[in-house]
Symmetry: C2
Subunit: 216 residues, 2 copies
Amino acid sequence: MALTRAKKAEAPKKRSRIQTENRAAIALAALDVFSTDGYRGATIDRIAERAGMSKTNLLYYYPSKEDIYRQVIEQTVEAWLEPFAAIDPDGDPIEELRRYITIKLTMSDASPEASRLFANEVQRGAPLVLEFLQTRLKALVDEKAGVIRRWIDAGKIAPVDPYHLIFTIWATTQHYADFDVQVNAILGKQTKRPGFNDQVAHAVLSILLNGIKPRA
Amino acid sequence: MALTRAKKAEAPKKRSRIQTENRAAIALAALDVFSTDGYRGATIDRIAERAGMSKTNLLYYYPSKEDIYRQVIEQTVEAWLEPFAAIDPDGDPIEELRRYITIKLTMSDASPEASRLFANEVQRGAPLVLEFLQTRLKALVDEKAGVIRRWIDAGKIAPVDPYHLIFTIWATTQHYADFDVQVNAILGKQTKRPGFNDQVAHAVLSILLNGIKPRA
DNA sequence: CCAAAACTTGACTAAGTGGTCAAAATTGAA
DNA sequence: TTCAATTTTGACCACTTAGTCAAGTTTTGG
């Protein structure tokens, strides 16, 4: 579950109600602050303020800034991996990809902070998650690339490089979270209208599924 | 040229050789540091060190950290806009898009720092370039979206939402710069091989032009 | 060659920053 | 109720950071 193995087998910590509440509040506030200011730019003070407690109290729950960051990013990565792992080799390929893309777009819309946090981490050179990327993520991507290759061999989808297809899906779906300020600036208030998210999904799916060239 | 209008009509400053050299060295170093550490995370000291001069000397050329940042990001945005503006309404649509995508991928490869710098700025909420996004960039995108719409009406490309097409192109082309650590982690050393960039271009173009669904 | 302008530097300041510590306030089980 | 464990706090420390300043050194035009 954890990105890195726990150093020591921690005793079976049962958390009090206050522990649970405060740790959750901290994680939420930290996601917010880290995702906009980056790791170095974020301050414990601001996280504490947003979580509604003193800095000293926050440090009672998480012993250091890096600990908070680690917690939040692990949380994010796990949530982000799940729908990818759920791609079913035996499902209908187009339907599976459509579902995955839709879920990712929904997640981007629901929690753009998480998306930005991860983007930030990778852009910094992934000091914390590099090992995870090289091991667990790579293995999972290799596996799914194999699935896609088999779909291609069966003639069920067009012959495209599986890895770059995965990257393209990640790129497009995350773009709407990571660059939402830019998207808003260009599209104006229509991005706030209720159906907008569906419109994005439809447009992206149309491009990725059918391409730009006119079909005969 | 500038993102924001100059406050006062500056006297016709002719720059000495030393001015020119040092300002260029600073801009280069700043791009490097800002793009990996973010605005808040970057320090004048590190920029100065990388530029090979003392902090005090650097502040002789740029009066503040924000001034350096502003300079570098304006530079970046201008370079980034040029090939987009160059999309020719009278050219062959597929060829124009292919060319634009290829150029953007080449730029991402040549200067991933610039790409990351801009991504970082937008992810922070675009404090410096927001106005630019809402005015000049929006106008330019509106114009190019009109071009694409006319191509669609003429049946020369498939009917996709022009704005989302533009976003999709930006997303995919920037992904290889902004997430290159992740790409490297997953694809391994093959990303260093000479032909890799062409392979990326080919794969991305294939997906965007033809889509994933098998053509009859 | 020389003085003025341009350039460079080290010492310094004021405002944060992450983190410690001991003491106080609160909670909860017996 | 009681008292030990848990939670919360303010004072504090060592360090980093953006930016100033005055005093130097180098460059350049006459």
